[in-house]
């Protein structure tokens, strides 16, 4: 379970998170929505300790992430797959090497035949042909890079998956493929996921619950139906301004 409690974060004068409460139950997929630059990725990076809060608590599996020492933090991170917005693939490494680096268990990583079969398995899961393994990130399209990023994130068999804008910059067809992949991974691997996104329609399709981050706070959090039924001005403004009458469409 993931739990953020009264989290505060500021960068210089800019207050990014101001008393944020956020929780994700085991096996659940939560979509975190909000305007650009509001701090969604910052919130996500608090979960695996890439950013530490100025105040407040961040718990994953009951462990206080900001207070973990190097070794336990590293072990926790090996259970959390992180899909970066622009892939963050290591450009000096092939796709195979990138995905292989995601195998976080040292014994497994040392076993070449396990690595070969695990990389192939992960590429299958994200619908990429095995020949992709030989290529380098520079040879891949945006959608393929995102899928390799997902393959790397799942290679270590994580219990949590954090997606940072997995569909941004993709055409609707590729965005749809990624959305289906998020659902498929939840169903086949049983992972708990947090999806940071701008894509409201996709989020309503994949998420069990939706949260809206606005003005440095979680303004609304609930099931898609609850969000649709919300009368909160901030929720209505965010969803209706950008997406017309989407809130009132049938689920």
């Amino acid at each position: 379970m993931i739990k953020l409690s009264d989290v505060h974060k500021r960068f210089g004068e800019l207050v990014v998170l101001d008393g944020v409460d956020f929780d994700v139950n085991q096996g659940e997929t939560v979509a975190l929505l909000g305007p650009s630059g509001v701090g969604k990725s910052v919130l996500l990076k608090h979960i695996n300790g890439l950013i530490h809060p100025d105040a407040g608590e961040v718990y994953v599996d009951g462990l206080s992430v900001p207070h973990l020492q190097r070794k336990p933090l590293s072990m926790l991170r090996s259970r959390i797959g992180y899909v970066f917005q622009f892939g963050a693939l290591f450009d000096s490494m092939s796709v195979y090497e990138n995905v292989q680096l995601g195998i976080t268990d040292e014994e497994c990583a040392a076993d070449r035949s396990y690595c070969r079969s695990r990389v192939a398995q992960c590429l299958d899961l994200v619908n990429l042909p095995h020949q992709t393994a030989e290529k380098y990130p520079a040879d891949l399209s945006g959608g393929m890079k995102k899928r390799v990023g997902i393959a790397r994130a799942i290679a270590g068999q994580p219990t949590y998956l954090l997606y940072d804008e997995p569909t941004s910059g993709l055409d609707p067809v590729n965005a749809d493929i990624i959305d289906k992949l998020v659902t498929k991974l939840r169903d086949s691997l049983g992972v708990t996921s947090v999806v940071v996104s701008h894509d409201v329609r996709g989020s309503f399709r994949v998420a069990d619950r939706i949260a809206l981050l606005k003005d440095a706070q979680i303004r609304a959090m609930g099931t898609p139906e609850e969000i649709r039924a919300s009368t909160d001005d901030a929720v209505l403004e965010f969803f209706e301004r950008d997406f017309g009458t989407f809130l009132h469409e049938p689920g």
């Binding site: 926790l76 963050a88 450009d91």
Partner: protein, 264 residues
């Protein structure tokens, strides 16, 4: 007038705070490096890879520079002391200048540009494209994967390159002095070289090059590792890395001369 004084104080205050904060962060990075030394399975193979790039990759340009430096030193010595001092002085001066100063300093300055810029640009790009965050998110230490191999490779390979530079510089100076323009006999050159040579000089040259190697790898790694703000940040980091590494070399050169060379 009081406003100007206040502004100047603020400026000095801000600068001091910034400098102290940078020193603090650099010290923290060094501490983290020591703490990560246990992960030798990660950093040892990567150090060999980096050492190859630093050493073999820089060998040609280092030898070329040292060759010209040795030749020019011999020519200028001959020009300045012609008919006023014994000719064997040229041998002594070429060897001493190359070993004590030109070999280590020129090689280090050259590598500050070549390796320092490369380290800062590589790590800076990795930082702004979230590759370093990705490494951390996979439970891997960027210190043992990226920093230790680069710093060790720079620190260990610079002395090796300096030995090559010293050799080529001396040989080139000798060749120019003896068989080239100055027409100094081999015996005179060797006599001069031996007359002024002390084994301490060689140690001094190597100790200096270890310190320079640390500076040209640690400073750019730190600057690259802490890069912010996209492509512009990488550009700024690369420039800052080369300037800081070069200034560090000149500073260390002065300090080490004071500490290591016996005075009087």
């Amino acid at each position: 007038m009081p406003t100007v004084t206040l502004d100047a104080r603020r400026l000095v205050g801000r600068f001091s705070l910034k400098a102290m904060s940078q020193v603090g962060r650099l010290s923290y990075l060094v501490l983290e490096m020591f703490r990560s030394l246990g992960e030798w399975r990660v950093w040892v193979p990567r150090t060999f890879e980096q050492a190859y790039h630093v050493g073999f990759g820089s060998l040609f340009i280092v030898m070329l520079t040292a060759g010209f430096a040795g030749a020019v030193t011999a020519l200028q010595t001959g020009y300045q002391f012609e008919a006023s001092l014994p000719v064997y002085i040229v041998g002594g001066l070429v060897v001493q200048t190359i070993i004590l100063e030109l070999g280590p300093v020129l090689t280090a300055l050259l590598l500050a540009g070549r390796i320092g810029a490369r380290y800062a640009a590589e790590l800076g790009t990795m930082r702004v494209t979230e590759q370093i965050d990705a490494l951390e998110s996979l439970g891997r230490s960027p210190i043992s994967h990226l920093i230790i191999p680069r710093v060790l490779a720079g620190t260990l390979m610079l002395p090796v390159l300096v030995i090559f530079a010293d050799l080529i510089g001396i040989l080139s100076g000798w060749w120019f002095a003896a068989t080239g323009i100055l027409q100094i006999s081999n015996a005179d050159f060797i006599y001069g070289a031996q007359y002024f040579f002390r084994p301490l000089d060689l140690w001094y040259s190597i100790v200096k090059s270890v310190a320079f190697g640390l500076a040209i790898s640690l400073v750019p790694c730190y600057v690259g590792f802490t890069t912010k703000q996209g492509a512009e940040g990488v550009g700024r980091a690369t420039t800052a890395a080369v300037v800081s590494a070069s200034v560090s070399i000149l500073f260390l050169d002065a300090v080490l001369a004071q500490i290591l060379l016996p005075s009087g």
